[in-house]
C-alpha cells in the first residue's frame, strides 16, 4: 500500500482508472459468460427433439427406399436404402441405452432397440427380394411396415413427451434467465456504486493534503506565517509540493527575521547620526557660548536698556530687553522639551526683534488656544521655522508679509501651524525638505544655526511619527504653511 502511495500522482490516477475499468470489464465478462452458458443451455433444450426428428426422417427414408426397391428393384433405391440405413443406424446409436426412472430415457432405449430390429427385418426383406423369395419378402415387408408404424408412433410420443419436458425446462430456463438478469442488474448496480465510492474516496484522500496546502497558502498570503503543514507521509507530487511549501515557509520566516534585524540596525545608525549631528550643534553652541560670556552680554544689554530708559527711549529699552530675553532663552535653555508657551513667547520675541531690525515690515497674527500652551514639545522648533518663513517667504515683500501662528486642537493632536503669505514653495522642494534632502547654506549670516532637517528629525524622534510635520503651499506666490501635529497623549506628558 505504502509503495503504491509513494508512486507519482499520474501513476496513481491512472491506476485507479484502470482498476475501475478492469472491475467493470470483469463484471461484463462474467455477465457475458453467464449469458453464454445460458444460451448454450437454451440451445440444448430442443436438441433432443431435433435428434428425434432426424431419426424419424431417416426411418421414413429407409422405409421409402425399401418400398421403392421392393416395387421397382432399381439400384438407385438400393443405394439409397444402404445410405439411409447407415444413417439411421448412426443416429439411433446416439440414443440413450439406459433404463432409468425417466420415461424419456426408457423410450429412447426402446426406440434404439426397435430400430435395430426394424433394420434387421428390412435387411431381411431386401435379401429375400434379391433372392426372389416372394412369399418371404412379403411377409417380412408386412412385419417391417408394422414395426415402422410402431416406431413412428413411439417416436411421435417420445417427441411429444420430450417437447413437454423440454418446454418445461425451457420455462424453468427462462425463469432462471430472468433471475439471472435481475441478479446481474443488482450486481452491476452495486459494482457501479462501489466504483463511484472508490474513485470518490481515492480522489478525496489524494486531494485532502492539496486542499490543506491551498488553505495554508491562503493564510500565508493573508500574512499569517505561523502555519504548520501536516507532514505528508507519502512522496507523490502533492507530498513534494507540501514539503517544499513547508520548507519555503521556514525560510521566509528566517528571511523576515533577518530583514527586521537589519532594519533595526539601520534605525540605530540613523539615530546615532542624528545624535552626532545634535552633538555637533551642541558643540557649536558651546563654542559660541564659550566665546561670549553670557553674564557680560546680559549685563551689557541691561546697561544698554537702563541707559535707554534713562534717556526716555522707551522703544529702545523694550527692544534691548526683548533681545536680552531672546538670547537668554537660547542660552539658558538646556532642556530638550519645553512648554509650548515658551516656544510661542520666543517666536513673539523674535518677530519683535525682526520688526525693529526691518522697521516693522512683518505682520504677525496669532491664534492660540490658551489651554494648550502648557503642553510640551521639543525646544527650538518654532523659531527656526518662523525664521525660514521670514527668510525664504516674505523677506522681499516688505510690509505686506504676514506670519501667522496658530495653536489649536484637532482630533487627538495638538496642532501648531506657522504660515506666511510669501512666495510659496514648490511641491518638489516640499518633498525634498520633508525627506531631509534640502541643503541650504547653514552658515549664512542671518541664521541662528538650526536647519529645517534638524527640526524635522527632532520632531519625528519626539513623536515617533513620520507625519508629525507637514508643509503646505498652494503654489508660487501663494504662501506656505508648516503644520506640526503632536499627538495629544505625547504632548501631555
Amino acid at each position: 500500500m505504502n509503495k503504491f502511495l509513494n508512486k507519482p500522482l499520474q501513476f496513481k490516477i491512472i491506476s485507479v482508472c484502470v482498476f475501475v475499468n478492469v472491475l467493470i470489464f470483469t463484471v461484463n465478462l462474467l455477465l457475458m459468460l453467464g449469458m453464454n452458458a445460458m444460451a448454450v443451455e437454451m440451445e440444448k433444450v430442443y436438441e433432443g427433439n431435433r435428434a428425434l426428428n432426424e431419426i424419424a426422417e431417416a426411418i421414413s427414408d429407409v422405409q421409402g427406399s425399401m418400398t421403392d426397391y421392393l416395387s421397382s428393384k432399381t439400384s438407385d433405391s438400393l443405394e439409397e436404402y444402404f445410405i439411409s440405413a447407415q444413417r439411421l443406424q448412426d443416429r439411433a446409436g446416439n440414443l440413450d441405452n439406459r433404463v432409468t426412472d425417466h420415461a424419456l430415457t426408457r423410450m429412447e432405449r426402446n426406440i434404439r432397440n426397435m430400430t435395430g430390429d426394424y433394420l434387421d427385418v428390412v435387411s431381411r426383406t431386401i435379401e429375400s427380394k434379391r433372392g426372389r423369395n416372394v412369399e418371404k419378402y412379403r411377409k417380412d415387408y408386412e412385419e417391417a411396415t408394422q414395426l415402422y408404424g410402431f416406431l413412428n408412433e413411439y417416436l411421435r410420443s417420445l417427441n411429444q413427451e420430450l417437447f413437454v419436458s423440454n418446454s418445461e425446462s425451457y420455462s424453468i430456463m427462462a425463469r432462471a434467465f430472468r433471475r439471472f438478469e435481475f441478479i446481474s442488474f443488482i450486481v452491476m448496480t452495486l459494482v457501479m456504486i462501489g466504483n463511484v465510492i472508490i474513485v470518490t474516496s481515492f480522489v478525496r484522500a489524494m486531494m485532502l493534503p492539496l486542499k490543506k496546502l491551498s488553505d495554508s497558502a491562503n493564510e500565508v498570503a493573508a500574512g499569517d506565517f505561523d502555519v504548520t503543514l501536516p507532514e505528508v507521509s507519502y512522496q507523490d507530487e502533492i507530498g513534494i509540493v507540501n514539503n517544499a511549501f513547508s520548507k519555503m515557509l521556514v525560510s521566509i520566516k528566517q528571511y523576515i527575521q533577518r530583514l527586521t534585524e537589519s532594519m533595526e540596525k539601520e534605525r540605530d545608525m540613523q539615530e546615532k547620526e542624528l545624535m552626532m549631528e545634535s552633538h555637533l550643534k551642541d558643540a557649536q553652541l558651546k563654542y559660541l557660548r564659550a566665546q561670549i560670556n553670557p553674564h557680560f552680554l546680559f549685563n551689557t544689554l541691561n546697561a544698554g536698556a537702563q541707559l535707554a530708559m534713562m534717556e526716555g527711549a522707551d522703544r529702545t529699552y523694550e527692544y534691548v530687553q526683548t533681545v536680552a530675553d531672546f538670547f537668554r532663552y537660547n542660552i539658558k535653555n538646556q532642556q530638550t522639551e519645553v512648554r509650548i508657551r515658551d516656544e510661542v513667547t520666543l517666536v513673539d520675541n523674535y518677530i519683535q526683534i525682526l520688526n525693529v531690525r526691518f522697521s516693522g515690515d512683518i505682520g504677525y497674527e496669532k491664534q492660540v488656544d490658551e489651554r494648550l500652551l502648557d503642553m510640551v514639545m521639543p525646544a527650538m522648533i518654532l523659531q527656526p521655522i518662523v525664521e525660514n518663513a521670514v527668510n525664504h517667504g516674505i523677506r522681499e515683500m516688505g510690509s505686506e508679509g504676514v506670519i501667522t501662528l496658530r495653536v489649536y486642537r484637532e482630533d487627538d493632536n495638538v496642532c501648531i501651524g506657522i504660515g506666511d503669505n510669501g512666495k510659496g514653495i514648490s511641491q518638489e522642494n516640499i518633498r525634498k525638505i520633508l525627506s531631509g534632502n534640502w541643503h541650504n547654506d547653514e552658515n549664512s549670516y542671518d541664521n541662528n544655526g538650526i536647519g529645517m532637517d534638524n527640526v524635522i528629525s527632532r520632531l519625528r524622534l519626539f513623536s515617533g511619527n513620520e507625519d508629525v510635520i507637514d508643509i503646505k503651499s498652494a503654489g508660487q506666490g501663494k504662501g506656505a504653511e508648516v503644520l506640526i501635529r503632536i499627538p495629544f497623549s505625547r504632548a501631555a506628558q
Binding site: E41, R98, V99, N113, S157, L158, G194, S201, T228
Partner: protein, 362 residues
C-alpha cells in the same frame, strides 16, 4: 493549537477515506463473488436435475387398459418389488400415444428387446405365437391374470378362479336363502321362481377363468343343497370390442324383460357400470350385484349396500409374483408354473374393517 487540530483532522479524514476505499473494495469483490456463486448455483441446480437411478433390467407389463385402478395397483406392486432388485418395470402403453391391443404391445416389447414381459394374455392363437416368438428371442414371458396355456410362457400369475367362484357361490347361497325366507314369510312357496343369475362374460374371452368361476359357483351351490330349480345361471355376453360398448351392453340388461336377480361381474369396469346402472334404474335391493375388485368406488358402494359383495384381490401380490417369476428365471433358469394371489371377499359384514384398514394405510 489550531494547526495541530487541523493536522489531526486531516489525517483522520484521509484515513477515513482509505478505510472507506478498502471497505468498498471488499464489498465490490464480495458482490462479484456472491453473484458468480449464485449464478453457478442456479446453473448446477438446473443441470443436476436430470440425474436419476439407473436400472440393470427392464421388464414390461402389458395390459388391456393401463388406466384402470386394477392394473395400476398390480403395476405398483410389481414396480416396488422390482426396484428393490435394481429392475424397472414399465407399464407399456402409458407413454405411447394411441391405443394398442395387447398383441401390438407384445410386438413392441419384443422389438424393444426388453428383459422380461408380463402380459395379460388370452387364449388366442396370435397371443400364443407372440409369446412363443418372445421365448425364442430369449425374452421370458409371464402371463398375468389370464393365461395362455398353449404357449411356451414361463409362468402364470393369477388368482384362483375356483376360489373366487366358491366365494361367489357362498354369496349366492346367502342370497338364495334370504329369498327363501322371504318367500316363506309371504306364503308363496309354490309360486317362487328360480333365482336368475347373470354372469357377465367378455365377448373376446375364450377365457377359461370365467368358466372355472361359473363351475365353481355351481359346485358350491350344489354342496349346500340348493337345487338347480332354485337358481338359473346364464352368461350375458358383454361386448367389449370397442371403447364404450361395455357400458351400453350392461344397460341393455336392465332394459330386458327379465331383469336378473343377481349380476355377477368379473372385472372392475363391469362392476362400476353395473353399479351405476342399478342406481340409475332404481333397482337397488332388487338386483344384487356381486362385484369384482376393491377400488374406492366399489368398496364405498358395498358400504352403502348398492353392491352385495365384492372380491378383493391382493394386487400387490400379483405384481410381486410376476416380478419374482421373471427374476427366478434369470436366477435359476426356471420357476414355478403357477402363482396364485390371495383373495378376500368384502361384504356388508366386513366392509367397515376394510375401510378402516384403508384409512389406516393412508
Amino acid at each position: 493549537m489550531n494547526a495541530i487540530n487541523g493536522e489531526k483532522s486531516i489525517e483522520k479524514s484521509i484515513r477515513r477515506q482509505y478505510i472507506l476505499l478498502v471497505v468498498t473494495l471488499i464489498f465490490v469483490m464480495v458482490t462479484l463473488i456472491l453473484g458468480t456463486l449464485l449464478f453457478r448455483f442456479y446453473m448446477s441446480n438446473f443441470k443436476t436435475k436430470q440425474v436419476s437411478n439407473e436400472y440393470d433390467k427392464y421388464y414390461v407389463m402389458i395390459t388391456d387398459n393401463y388406466k384402470s385402478d386394477f392394473w395400476q395397483a398390480i403395476y405398483r406392486g410389481a414396480l416396488e418389488a422390482a426396484r428393490e432388485e435394481g429392475i424397472f418395470v414399465e407399464l407399456l402403453g402409458q407413454n405411447i400415444s394411441g391405443e394398442y391391443s395387447c398383441e401390438e404391445l407384445m410386438r413392441i416389447a419384443i422389438a424393444s428387446r426388453v428383459d422380461g414381459i408380463i402380459v395379460y394374455a388370452n387364449e388366442s392363437d396370435e397371443m400364443t405365437e407372440l409369446i412363443n416368438e418372445a421365448t425364442e428371442k430369449e425374452i421370458p414371458v409371464v402371463t398375468l391374470y389370464n393365461d395362455n396355456t398353449r404357449s411356451s410362457r414361463m409362468s402364470f400369475v393369477g388368482v384362483g378362479s375356483y376360489n373366487i367362484g366358491r366365494e361367489y357361490g357362498k354369496q349366492i347361497n346367502n342370497i338364495v336363502r334370504e329369498k327363501r325366507r322371504d318367500s316363506i314369510e309371504s306364503d308363496r312357496i309354490g309360486q317362487r321362481s328360480p333365482l336368475k343369475i347373470a354372469v357377465l362374460v367378455n365377448a373376446d374371452a375364450a377365457d377359461t377363468g370365467q368358466n372355472i368361476i361359473i363351475s365353481a359357483i355351481q359346485d358350491c351351490l350344489r354342496q349346500v343343497n340348493i337345487t338347480d330349480s332354485e337358481y338359473n345361471i346364464s352368461t350375458v355376453t358383454i361386448d367389449n370390442t370397442n371403447a364404450f360398448s361395455v357400458e351400453e351392453s350392461i344397460r341393455d340388461i336392465f332394459l330386458m324383460e327379465n331383469v336378473p336377480d343377481v349380476i355377477l361381474c368379473l372385472n372392475e369396469l363391469d362392476t362400476v357400470c353395473a353399479y351405476q346402472a342399478v342406481v340409475d334404474f332404481n333397482k337397488v335391493g332388487e338386483v344384487n350385484i356381486l362385484g369384482y375388485y376393491d377400488s374406492d368406488a366399489i368398496v364405498n358402494a358395498v358400504d352403502r349396500g348398492v353392491l352385495y359383495a365384492t372380491v378383493s384381490i391382493d394386487t400387490r401380490q400379483l405384481g410381486e409374483y410376476s416380478v419374482k417369476a421373471l427374476n427366478d428365471y434369470y436366477e435359476y433358469g426356471n420357476t414355478s408354473q403357477y402363482y396364485s394371489a390371495d383373495i378376500t371377499l368384502i361384504s356388508q359384514d366386513n366392509v367397515a374393517d376394510f375401510l378402516n384398514k384403508e384409512e389406516g394405510d393412508e
